[in-house]
Amino acid sequence: MGPKKLKSVSYAKYGYIFSIPFVLAFLIFTAYPIFYTAVIGFTDLKGLGKTDFKFLENPLQNFEAVWKNPSFQKSLENTAIIWICNFIPQILLALLLTAWFTNQRQKLRCQGAFKVLFYMPNIITAATIAILFNSLFGYPLGPVNDLFQMLGIADGPTEFLRDKWTAKGIISFIQFWMWYGQTMIVLIAGVLGINPALFEAAEIDGATSRQVFFHITLPSLRTIMLFTLVTSLIGGMQMFDIPKLFLNGGPDSATLTVSVFIYNQAFSGSYLYNRAAAACMILFVIIAILSGILFYLLRDKDAGKLKKQMRELKKAQKAARRAEA
């Protein structure tokens, strides 16, 4: 036993050694910049090329200014609206397609090809997609306008991108279009991970496809759906490429998101690094709180379920004992 123990002790140091690059890179390129961003939030740092700063007398001045800034409030509201309008249809369509693609009684052909095509927009540069859609919805000349007139939906050209809600709607649609394929593939993988015995039992009991979906598939997907929700939410809160390049936050700030607000504060002429840093921190706190809530809900329910099961088990044992007696 002696030598073996010695051996494991001597190898343990490699666990530390091999982790050093990761830890160093994380400290330098993530931890320190976050800390530095937080510090800048309390200072007077602004102006192109400036790096020196002094702390403000009222340390929360930037945070207050950003929080009360109508543009920032607007950007929070826009981010939330765009995210909700993209996520709800996205998860619903992904669930519908998952139900279709995993239906054992009615197998669809060409599933592989459909998956490849549905996922495709996700891999294409978002910057390109933003500008492509800007051209597609062009006024007075543009493919969408031509299509609408060809189908008789509209008589003359429509200036889609002037309307605030249409602009928001198109961005939500782009996000939805880019992500539903990914969500669908993840959900299908989740369904394939469910114990097949459950489906077989349901089949023997004569359950319909609908019953199987709502009573077996959907409850089993809860964890994966919550995970999708969290990742989508965090991704949605940072939405930058599409709103920035589609209409640069316009028309009239209707598509200004938090990330575009941060970028514009710091890099589009005004160089208000301190304000932008404060906005970053506010965004960070919001994301942390939201994902904290979601993870809490997720964990709590599972723990609760386990407790319930244990209770039922005890009850059953008691009943069995009573029956024996």
Binding site: G15, I17, F26, T30, I34, T51, M120, W177, V186, L245
Partner: protein, 283 residues
Amino acid sequence: MRRESTLVGRTVSKTIKYIVCIFLAILSIMPFWIMMMNATRGTYEIQQNSISLLPSTYLISNFKVFEGKAFNPLVGFKNSLIIAGGATVLGIYFSCLTAYALVAYQWRLRQPFFTFIMAVLMIPAQVSGIGFYQFMYRIGWTNSYLPLILPAIAAPAMVFFMRQYLLGALSIDIVNSARIDGANEFYIFNRIVLPIMKPAMATQAIFAFVGSWNNLFMPMILLTDKAKYTMPIMVSLLRGDIYKTEYGAIYLGLTLTVLPLFIVYFALSKYIIAGVALGSMKE
């Protein structure tokens, strides 16, 4: 009678499913198809009718519009290739190394370190953007590729994936027998463990590469020298007024920026779809 009606019902429901799927497939293809066709069409043609399912003959004259302008797809391609390539290689190698440390060795901070990686898995790059920019500006690293490549060394999500893979694929016996043969730990990792991880490396490489290639926020903040612009920044130039009337050229520019991605995607789509499904198994 009943049997017949359910049969009809089934056929109808199946037809509806196919119609929806085909509609969605067209929705995926159509914008890119119009883009590629218009890339070959002249401005006048596009003005007459901006939807065409067939190509035309103005490809070369559209290309000439870019001459002497800031939009240079070749430069963007080269720069993006360096950055995405570098970030992918570093990210893959060091993620494997970190994952190996988490799986193969018994050390006291192993579990806390893993918990830490899970906790920082989702920190978005945007929240540190201002501090990162100021930090890089101070050390003179703006207009350098290093701040876009080196952070890839710490890729928590990739470490997580590699760890999951390694837990199933690594047999500690192989490692031990190599130790008996006198191999040192670095040699074992590079020559024995890395080859085992090839399938996981391939999947993650695709996503790492595409992610880095498509990144806009950080390069846009850090790179101001036009010769260093990445592909997504090049794309953003197409919004400028110079191209407002050159419809064909805009579509051609967009096409050139995504052509490499299309080639990669359709060549590797099987692995990519499998990778997306695999990445979801975070339990």
